[in-house]
C-alpha cells in the first residue's frame, strides 16, 4: 500500500490507485488546513490593546465550505464502487477458477485442493500440509473460507486480500495473482493467545509448477 508492499494481484492496481487518489485529496486538505492554522497563529498572535474582528460568521463561506467538500466526499464514495464491486461482489465463474477450501483454526491454516475430478468435497481432495498454500498465477482463485473455532482473518498483503473466516458461516474471497514468488499469509483478527504466530506460507507459481506440486502432495498421502 502506498508503494510499501508490492501489489501482485489484478485488484492490487486499482486498489493502490484509489489509495493514491485519497492520499492526494486528503493531503491537499491536510496542508491547506494546517497551513492556514499556522499562518493565523502567527498573523493574529496576541497584541496588547488590539481588538479582534467582531464577526459571527458568513453565510456565503458556510455554503461554500459545506457544498464543495460534500460533493467531493460523495464523489469519492461513488468513485470506489467499481473496484469494490470487482473485489467483493462480482466473482468469476467457478468454471474458469481454481476453487480452494481454506479452513482456519487456532492457530493454523489448512488448504484443501480439488483432486482429479476438479471438485471439492469429494474422495480425491488433496489436503496440503498445514500452513502451506500454493496458488497458480494468471487465473482466478476462489477461496472458500471457513473456521472451526473462532474468528480469523485471511490476509495476504501482496494480494490485497482480506476476508474474515467466520465459524458456522462460510465466506468466499477471490483474487488473481499476477507474479510468482513466496509470500506470507497473516491472521488479521484476534483469535487467541497464538494469534500472532498464525502465519501461512504462500507460494505464487505458474500453472505447471502448481500442478506438479499438487501431484507431489497427493502422492505423499
Amino acid at each position: 500500500m502506498g508503494g510499501l508492499v508490492p501489489g501482485l494481484s489484478t485488484i492490487a492496481g486499482p486498489i493502490d490507485q484509489l489509495f493514491m487518489v485519497v492520499l492526494i485529496l486528503t493531503g491537499i486538505a491536510f496542508f491547506l488546513v494546517e497551513g492556514i492554522l499556522i499562518y493565523f497563529l502567527v498573523r493574529y498572535r496576541y497584541r496588547e490593546g488590539r481588538k479582534a474582528k467582531f464577526v459571527h460568521g458568513n453565510r456565503r463561506v458556510e455554503i461554500l465550505w459545506t457544498v464543495i467538500p460534500g460533493l467531493m466526499l460523495f464523489g469519492l464514495a461513488v468513485f470506489q464502487y467499481d473496484t469494490w464491486t470487482k473485489a467483493k461482489i462480482d466473482f468469476p465463474s467457478e468454471a474458469v477458477s481454481e476453487v480452494i477450501a481454506v479452513s482456519a483454526n487456532q492457530f493454523e491454516w489448512k488448504a484443501t485442493y480439488a483432486g482429479e475430478d476438479g471438485k471439492l468435497g469429494t474422495e480425491d481432495d488433496i489436503q496440503a500440509p498445514i500452513n502451506v498454500l500454493h496458488f497458480p498465477v494468471g487465473r482466478p482463485i476462489i477461496v472458500e473460507l471457513q473456521s472451526t473455532d473462532v474468528l480469523h482473518s485471511f490476509f495476504i498483503p501482496v494480494l490485497r486480500v482480506k476476508q474474515d473466516a467466520v465459524p458456522g458461516r462460510p465466506s468466499r474471497v477471490w483474487f488473481q495473482a499476477i507474479a510468482e514468488g513466496e509470500y506470507e499469509l497473516a491472521c488479521a483478527e484476534l483469535c487467541g493467545l497464538g494469534h500472532y504466530r498464525m502465519r501461512g506460507f504462500v507460494t505464487l507459481e505458474s500453472q505447471e509448477k502448481f500442478e506438479a506440486w499438487l501431484e507431489e502432495v497427493a502422492a505423499r498421502r
Binding site: L4, F54, D149, L151, Q163, P167, C191
Partner: protein
C-alpha cells in the same frame, strides 16, 4: 442554605448530590484510570519493541514467576484492557462525567442538576463497575482478552483464550454497570438542559460545550441500551448456555452489528464534548466570537444523526453482505462533512482574532490540528477497496488514536486546565502547562504518525510479536523508536500531574474570572458555593460576544445588563431549586 453547613463530611464529599463534587469524583477516578491505561500501553509497546525480553523494573513485579517476561496470553489481555479502560473508564467519564457534571448547571445558570440523587447514583453505580473490572486483573485466568470489541465466539468459548474464563464475565458485568451509569447521566443532562436554563438562556445562547454535552447525552440515551442488550445476551450465552451468538445455531456477526451500533456513536460520545470544549476555549482565547455558531450546532446534530448510519464500516470484510459495504461507505464519507465544517469554523474563529496562546488554548489548537489527521485518515478506511488492506492493521490504530488521543485527550487537557481555576479556585502554572503541551504534542505525533506507515506495510493490530512474520521484521526499528517516544510522553505526564497537584494547594488564587470569559460559570466565586447561584442570573446575549463594539473591554458577559438591552422575551418559569426536593 443553612443546613448545608450541617451536612456531614460523608454527605458533602462522598455521597454528595452536589454536581460539582460528583464532577470532581469523576475527574479524580478518571485520572487514576488514565494512569492504569497508560501503564498497560507502556507494557504493550515495550513488548512490540523488544518482544519476549525481560522487562526492566516492573517486569519482576508483574511477571516474576515467568522470568520477568510477558506471557503470550497476557498481550491480548493488555490490548483489551487498555482499550476498555481508556474508553469507558477514562475518556467518557472525564468528558461527560467530570466536565459534564461540573459545567452543565454552572453554564446554564442552574443551582444543580434536575435530578441530584440520580446524579449521585450515576457516579456510585460506576464504583462497582470499577471494582469488578479491577478485580478481573486478579482472577487466576486473568482479565478479558478478546479485545475491547469482545468479538464472539472468542469472548464466549471459555477455552478459546484464558481471559474468556472468569475475566470476560466480569468484563460483561462491569460494562453493564458502565452503561447504566451512562444512561442515568444522559437522562439527567437532557432534562437539566431542557428544563433548568436561566431566564434568557435560549437554546441558541448555550455555549458549545453544553450543546455538545446535550447531543452526546441524546446519543448515549439511544445507543447505550443496544449495547446493554447485547451484553445481556452475551452474559446468558456465557452463563446459562444460550446460543444467541454461537457459531452455527446463533449469529456470530450479530454481535458485531450490535456492538458497533453502539460503539460507533460512542466514538462521537468521546469526541463531541471535546469539540464543544475546544470551541469555547478557542473563542475565549481568540477574544473573538465563535465563527458560525449555528452551523457549528447543526454540524453536531448532523454528526449525531449520521452517526447511527455508519456502523457497518467496521465490518467491510467481516462476511457482511458486500452490497451493504457500498451504503456504509457512502454514509461514512458523508459523516466527514460536518467534521470538516466544524474545522473550517474553528479556523474562521482564529481569523482576525487576538490569539492568546495559553496552555488551554494550545491544547485546544492541538485538538483541531490532530483531529484533522484523525478525520482524514478515516477517509482511507471508509473507502471500502482501500480498507480491504487497511482493516485491522496499524492504520486503524493510528486513526483511532488521532481521534481519541489527539482529539479527545487534548480536548481533556484543554478543558481541565481551562476550568481548573473554577473547580479549585487556583491557577495552574501556564509555563509548566506549555512545557507539558510541547512535550506531549511532539511525542504524540512521533508515536502515532508512524502507525500509518506500519499500516501501509500491513502490520496487523493486536499481534504480540510482529517479527514472527518475515514481512514485518524490517519494522522493528520503527517500533522501537515509537516506544521510546511513548516513554518520553509518559514521563511528560508527570509534569501535568505535578502542575495539577501543586496548583491545587499552592497555585495563584484565581478570582472569579481569570480568563475574562463570557459564560455564566465565570460570574461565580471560584470554586462556586453550594447551589451555585444565590440569584438565578438573567441572560441577555450569546456566549461569544468577545470584542463587542458595545463595550470597551474585549469581553461581554452573558448576564451583563447594558442600557437598552432587551430583556428576555419570554420569561421561562422561574427555575426551581432542584435540591428543594431533597
Amino acid at each position: 442554605m443553612t443546613e448545608t453547613a450541617e451536612l456531614s463530611f460523608v454527605r458533602r464529599y462522598v455521597f454528595s448530590t452536589d454536581h460539582k463534587v460528583i464532577g470532581k469524583q469523576f475527574l479524580f477516578t478518571a485520572m487514576g484510570f488514565f494512569t492504569l491505561g497508560g501503564i498497560l500501553a507502556l507494557l504493550m509497546r515495550t513488548q512490540l519493541a523488544w518482544p519476549w525480553q525481560e522487562i526492566p523494573v516492573i517486569g519482576k513485579l508483574l511477571f516474576g514467576s515467568g522470568g520477568n517476561i510477558l506471557p503470550p496470553e497476557t498481550y491480548p489481555a493488555l490490548v483489551t484492557m487498555h482499550g476498555t479502560i481508556m474508553i469507558f473508564f477514562f475518556i467518557i467519564p472525564i468528558l461527560s462525567g467530570a466536565l459534564g457534571n461540573f459545567l452543565i448547571p454552572l453554564m446554564i445558570g442552574a443551582k444543580d442538576m434536575a435530578f441530584p440523587r440520580l446524579n449521585l447514583f450515576s457516579y456510585w453505580v460506576m464504583v462497582p463497575a470499577f471494582i469488578v473490572m479491577l478485580a478481573s486483573f486478579f482472577v487466576a485466568t486473568g482479565p478479558a482478552a478478546a479485545g475491547w470489541t469482545s468479538y464472539v465466539p472468542l469472548s464466549i468459548l471459555k477455552d478459546a483464550i484464558p481471559g474468556s474464563e472468569m475475566g470476560q464475565t466480569l468484563w460483561v458485568l462491569s460494562m453493564m454497570l458502565v452503561g447504566t451509569s451512562s444512561i442515568l447521566g444522559a437522562i439527567n443532562y437532557i432534562t437539566t438542559i431542557v428544563m433548568l436554563r436561566a431566564p434568557g438562556m435560549d437554546m441558541f445562547r448555550l455555549p458549545m460545550t453544553i450543546w455538545a454535552l446535550f447531543v452526546t447525552a441524546i446519543l448515549a440515551t439511544f445507543a447505550t441500551p443496544v449495547l446493554t442488550a447485547a451484553l445481556i445476551l452475551m452474559f446468558l450465552d456465557r452463563t446459562i448456555g444460550t446460543l444467541f451468538f454461537a457459531a452455527g445455531e446463533g449469529q456470530v456477526i450479530l454481535w458485531q452489528h450490535l456492538f458497533w451500533f453502539y460503539s460507533h456513536p460512542a466514538v462521537y460520545i468521546m469526541i463531541l464534548p471535546a469539540m464543544g470544549v475546544a470551541s469555547d476555549i478557542i473563542s475565549t482565547f481568540s477574544r473573538k466570537p465563535l465563527f458560525g455558531y449555528k452551523p457549528m450546532v447543526y454540524s453536531i446534530m448532523a454528526i449525531a444523526a449520521l452517526g447511527f448510519t455508519v456502523w457497518g464500516h467496521h465490518m467491510f470484510v467481516s462476511g457482511m453482505n458486500p452490497l451493504l459495504g457500498l451504503t456504509f461507505m457512502t454514509s461514512t464519507m458523508l459523516i466527514a462533512l460536518p467534521s470538516a465544517i466544524k474545522t473550517f469554523n474553528w479556523l474562521g474563529t482564529l481569523w482576525g482574532g487576538n490569539l492568546q496562546l495559553r496552555a488551554p488554548m494550545l491544547n485546544a489548537l492541538a485538538f483541531v490540528s490532530t483531529f484533522v489527521i484523525g478525520g482524514l485518515s478515516g477517509i482511507f478506511s471508509a473507502a471500502t477497496p482501500v480498507d480491504i488492506f487497511l482493516h485491522d492493521t496499524y492504520w486503524i490504530v493510528g486513526h483511532i488514536h488521532y481521534v481519541l488521543f489527539g482529539g479527545s485527550l487534548f480536548g481533556v487537557f484543554a478543558g481541565v486546565q481551562y476550568w481548573f481555576p473554577k473547580m479549585f479556585g487556583r491557577m495552574m502554572s501556564d509555563g509548566w502547562g506549555r512545557i507539558h503541551f510541547i512535550l506531549t504534542f511532539v511525542t504524540f505525533n512521533l508515536i502515532f504518525l508512524p502507525m500509518f506507515v506500519l499500516g501501509g506495510y500491513g502490520m496487523p493490530r493486536r499481534i504480540a510479536d510482529p517479527y514472527v512474520y518475515e514481512m514485518f521484521t524490517n519494522l522493528q526499528g520503527l517500533n522501537q523508536f515509537m516506544t521510546y517516544a511513548l516513554y518520553v510522553l509518559a514521563l511528560s505526564q508527570f509534569i501535568l500531574a505535578g502542575n495539577f497537584f501543586y496548583s491545587l494547594f499552592r497555585g495563584k488564587v484565581a478570582g472569579k474570572n481569570p480568563w475574562k470569559a463570557n459564560t455564566l460559570e465565570w460570574t461565580l466565586d471560584s470554586p462556586p458555593p453550594h447551589e451555585n447561584f444565590e440569584h438565578i442570573p438573567t441572560v441577555y446575549r450569546g456566549p461569544y460576544e468577545y470584542s463587542s463594539p458595545l463595550v470597551s473591554a474585549d469581553w461581554l458577559a452573558q448576564d451583563q445588563y447594558l442600557d437598552g438591552t432587551k430583556p428576555p422575551e419570554v420569561m421561562p418559569a422561574p427555575a426551581v431549586s432542584p435540591a428543594a426536593g431533597d
